[in-house]
């Protein structure tokens, strides 16, 4: 079949039909038309994320990691499905990495948060704070012991400490039940510390700070930075002091001085007071009365009309309802902190026993969108471990469209240049090569569509480059034919010899380029793989068109060619 012109034309025509069919626009199940060729994120816009388990101290063994990665993958998939992205790619890469690709996404920052949020939810009872006040002197001593008194004055810069500058706050604090007389105590922090334990320790310190006494910081480094908020169990720390307090609290000596079965958790958002902002530090029960895994459903988020803050209603599982009942019935009138990923979102009063239904108050600083996203991640479940993003690429849809337009222009002009050179130099034979080139382009595009390969911007570059290189085989053949003709051989023999003699060079050069392309594919990520794929498909297609298609054209040409007439090459 391949020896006759008819048979060869049938093969070529069949391939063209297959490719055209592969490229024919199709409509998806949702009625929208699907681009026949997958466009990479760099062309259609979107986000690429690589996430890993955040385990800097290597506390997990290989088995735990593998298990955690699998569960994380499932959770992320659930979340993305609820987020509503068309055809997301969520897959494992290697043993410890997950790749998330979201095409055409409008708000990458939001998607990132939805993926990254651990969404570990706990409900914990707020303690009165008295135990902590009693423990503070010990904690102060632990800080001084482990850091040495000379290293303590600097971090908070006592003279500039917010508590010293803020008379407004001082008043607020003096209004607090257990700190009333403390403001009047101007004898300095050292004296107050000397008095030892007692509810006014914190207050005394504040007075010390107000009189810009640095002694308080060197003897009571921690309690000097904790301010009463007026709410039992809630302390305030000036924003600039937060890192210092975090550092102190992380010290092993301080950790062991924290009252038993008590947790200290930071608030999620700062509160403003007299022009300064403070981060709340809550004293909570260590054991939660309920955790997020006992949630059956969450949402839809609404805005609470009285307090103008977003709320996320939820229902619990049956077991959760029992736990919740048991936990809240004993604490009616107390505060219950809603802790998300170790941050206190809000701490509303328990007005009555809660069981099957309740809601999460987000605090007035939150938006409804955040509440909706929280409802989404709560429904999809918490991540089993903390994760971190190790690589992130986003491309706006406008840039992608621009890249496609420019790529098409460059492609068109590149092809025109090749046509101009080939026809100008080889005349009829050149025109045959150009026709073969058209078949080649159709084959490459059809191949991309058929193999479900992804076209990226470097892929377009590879395509354009391969057009330039695709004519190489034809050039090799044509030059051979010319040489044979120059030796006085007949047209038919020369064409025959030209194709045969050029073959070894064509095979060698195509194979070496193919080696490069395959290796590029092996090592590359997204865009580079796209380049490798178009290059590989291009090499195979160019081999076929140069050797088979052009040869068929030559056979037709020679059929009509009269012996003795010069060959147009």
């Amino acid at each position: 079949m391949l020896s006759t012109i008819k048979g060869r034309l049938l093969v070529i025509g069949g391939l063209i039909l297959v490719c055209a069919w592969a490229l024919f626009p199709k409509t998806g199940p949702d009625g929208k038309s699907i681009s026949p060729i997958n466009l990479g994120l760099d062309l259609q816009g979107g986000m690429h994320l690589a996430v890993e388990i955040d385990d800097p101290n290597h506390t997990m063994d290989a088995q735990q990691r593998a298990d955690a990665i699998d569960r994380t993958l499932t959770t992320i998939r659930n979340r993305i499905n609820q987020f509503g992205v068309r055809e997301p790619t969520i897959q494992k890469a290697g043993n410890d990495r997950i790749i998330v690709e979201l095409a055409g996404i409008e708000n990458p920052e939001r998607a990132k948060e939805v993926i990254e949020k651990t969404a570990f939810l706990e409900f914990k009872i707020v303690r009165s704070g008295d135990e902590l006040r009693r423990a503070l002197p010990r904690m102060d001593r632990a800080v001084v012991d482990s850091l040495g008194p000379q290293n303590l004055g600097t971090p908070g810069l006592p003279g500039e400490s917010a508590s010293a500058q803020q008379p407004g706050l001082k008043q607020l604090l003096q209004g607090g039940a257990d700190t009333g007389q403390a403001g009047a105590d101007t004898s300095g922090g050292a004296a107050a510390a000397g008095k030892g334990a007692g509810p006014d320790t914190v207050g005394g310190d504040r007075a010390g700070a107000a009189s810009t006494d640095t002694a308080g910081l060197s003897t009571r480094p921690l309690s000097a930075l904790l301010l009463e908020s007026g709410t039992p169990g809630e302390f305030l720390v000036a924003q600039q002091d937060v890192p210092t307090v975090q550092k102190y609290l992380a010290l092993p000596g301080v950790q062991s001085a924290i009252p038993r079965s008590t947790d200290l958790e930071w608030g999620a958002s700062p509160v403003g007071e007299g022009g300064n902002s403070y981060l709340p530090l809550w004293v909570l029960d260590h054991t939660p009365i309920l955790t997020g895994d006992q949630l059956a459903d969450a949402g839809p988020a609404t805005r609470d009309p009285t307090y103008n803050q977003p709320v996320v209603p939820f229902t619990t599982t049956r077991r959760g309802a029992r736990e919740f009942e048991r936990g809240t019935s004993r604490h009616v009138g107390d505060l219950m902190a809603i802790v998300l990923d170790g941050k206190v979102q809000s701490a509303p009063v328990i007005k009555e026993t809660l069981s099957h239904r309740a809601q999460i108050e987000m605090g007035s600083g939150s938006t409804l969108q955040e509440a909706q996203d929280l409802a989404l991640v709560l429904r999809a479940g918490a991540l089993p471990v903390k994760i971190k993003i190790v690589e992130e690429t986003t491309v706006g849809p406008s840039l992608g469209a621009d890249s496609i337009r420019k790529g098409e222009l460059a492609f068109g002009i590149g092809i025109l240049a090749v046509i101009f050179i080939m026809v100008g130099y080889y005349r009829v034979a050149g025109a045959m090569a150009v026709c073969a080139l058209c078949v080649y382009i159709l084959l490459v595009l059809g191949g991309l569509a058929g193999l479900k390969a992804t076209l990226t911007l470097p892929g377009i570059a590879g395509l354009i480059l391969s057009v330039g290189m695709a004519v190489d085989a034809n050039v090799l053949i044509f030059e051979r034919i010319r040489e044979e003709l120059a030796r006085g051989k007949s047209a038919r023999t020369s064409v025959e010899a030209g194709f045969q003699e050029a073959m070894s060079a064509i095979v060698d050069s195509n194979l070496t380029t193919l080696i490069t392309a395959v290796i590029l594919f092996q090592f590359g990520t997204g865009p580079v793989q796209g380049f490798a794929v178009t290059l590989s498909i291009g090499i195979v297609a160019s081999f076929f068109t140069a050797v088979f298609v052009t040869r068929t054209f030559f056979m037709i040409y020679l059929e009509r060619h009269k012996t003795g007439e010069p060959v147009s090459i």
């Binding site: 480059l465 290189m469 050039v475 070496t512």
Partner: protein, 302 residues
């Protein structure tokens, strides 16, 4: 039309001049690589954050710098990207604090100065671990590609052809990196892909010439070794020029019309393919001749 009809250029006769030209290019490259500014790795490899921003109106580098002052330890690089509305900002770090990445910090800083009169069109943030991984993989890829091609050459040709092809390709890689440094092109994944393509193209070009030499050596014609080499180069000259011509034509189209993102990639390829074409004539073949001469001298002494 017919170029180089029955060309009989004495390419090997002027090989010393070609050596000087190559040496000059290599020295120039070495100057840029080791004395001037060296290689500039993109965020793909070093880790860090890149953000391409489009402002609604023309904005100066100073304004952008002012807006993001203090971020990334003051090591931000700001580069105009095409028009005076478009900028690429690079920061050497990936994570700013425990809860925030540099991209978020950048957005906040830009928003506080420019409000919503700007939009982020592209970001790329790579953690240091991924960066190191990619560096290793890129090096591996180049070496493996090189090694496999060599093995293939060893099968198809005599060893001396292989050695000559390797020297020619090595020559191209060194000079290409010199160009990359001179034109201040970032080393990114795309640049590595371009270098590998150049390796493929240059080998390809050399193979075509060598293929003809192998064929001509088999011929019964009585001529000097150097004459066979020259004849082979001349016979393949039209092909060399034409294929470089069509490839370069498409690359120029890509360079001019393909847009800012792809331009450095096209530039590296244009320069590399130019050098690859040069080296298959003026480096690979002369090296083959030098090997032959060295052999003959040794035989004469023996």
């Amino acid at each position: 039309m017919r170029l180089f009809k029955d060309a009989r250029y004495d390419f090997l006769g002027i090989r010393r001049r070609a050596y000087i030209f190559s040496a000059a290019l290599i020295l120039m490259g070495a100057f840029f690589l080791f004395v001037h500014h060296g290689l500039h790795y993109g965020v793909d490899f070093t880790g860090g954050t890149l953000m391409q921003v489009q402002f609604d109106s023309a904005t100066s580098v100073g304004e952008v710098r002012g807006a993001i002052a203090g971020l990334g330890g003051g090591e931000a690089q700001i580069q105009q990207f095409g028009t005076s509305n478009d900028y690429v900002i690079r920061l050497p770090n990936f994570a700013a604090t425990q809860t925030q990445d540099v991209g978020q910090e950048l957005r906040q800083a830009l928003a506080s100065t420019f409000g919503d009169h700007y939009k982020v069109v592209r970001t790329s943030a790579v953690g240091p671990k991924v960066g190191t991984e990619l560096q290793r993989k890129a090096l591996e890829a180049i070496l493996i590609a090189f090694g496999l091609t060599l093995i293939y050459l060893a099968f198809r040709f005599e060893w001396r052809f292989g050695v000559a092809a390797v020297i020619a390709t090595g020559h191209d890689i060194i000079i290409t990196f010199g160009f990359i440094s001179a034109f201040n092109v970032d080393i990114t994944l795309a640049t590595v892909a371009a270098v590998l393509t150049i390796v493929g193209y240059s080998l390809n070009d050399t193979i075509i010439v060598f293929d003809r030499m192998r064929e001509n050596f088999k011929g019964k014609r009585k001529e000097e070794y150097v004459q066979t080499l020259n004849r082979s180069i001349n016979e393949t000259l039209p092909r060399t020029v034409l294929t470089s011509g069509t490839t370069l034509a498409t690359l120029f189209a890509l360079f001019v019309f393909g847009g800012e993102v792809i331009r450095p990639f096209a530039l590296v390829l244009i320069l590399g393919i130019g050098i690859g074409t040069f080296s298959s004539i003026f480096v690979a073949s002369p090296v083959l001749l030098e090997i032959e001469n060295w052999y003959r001298r040794r035989e004469a002494r023996a």
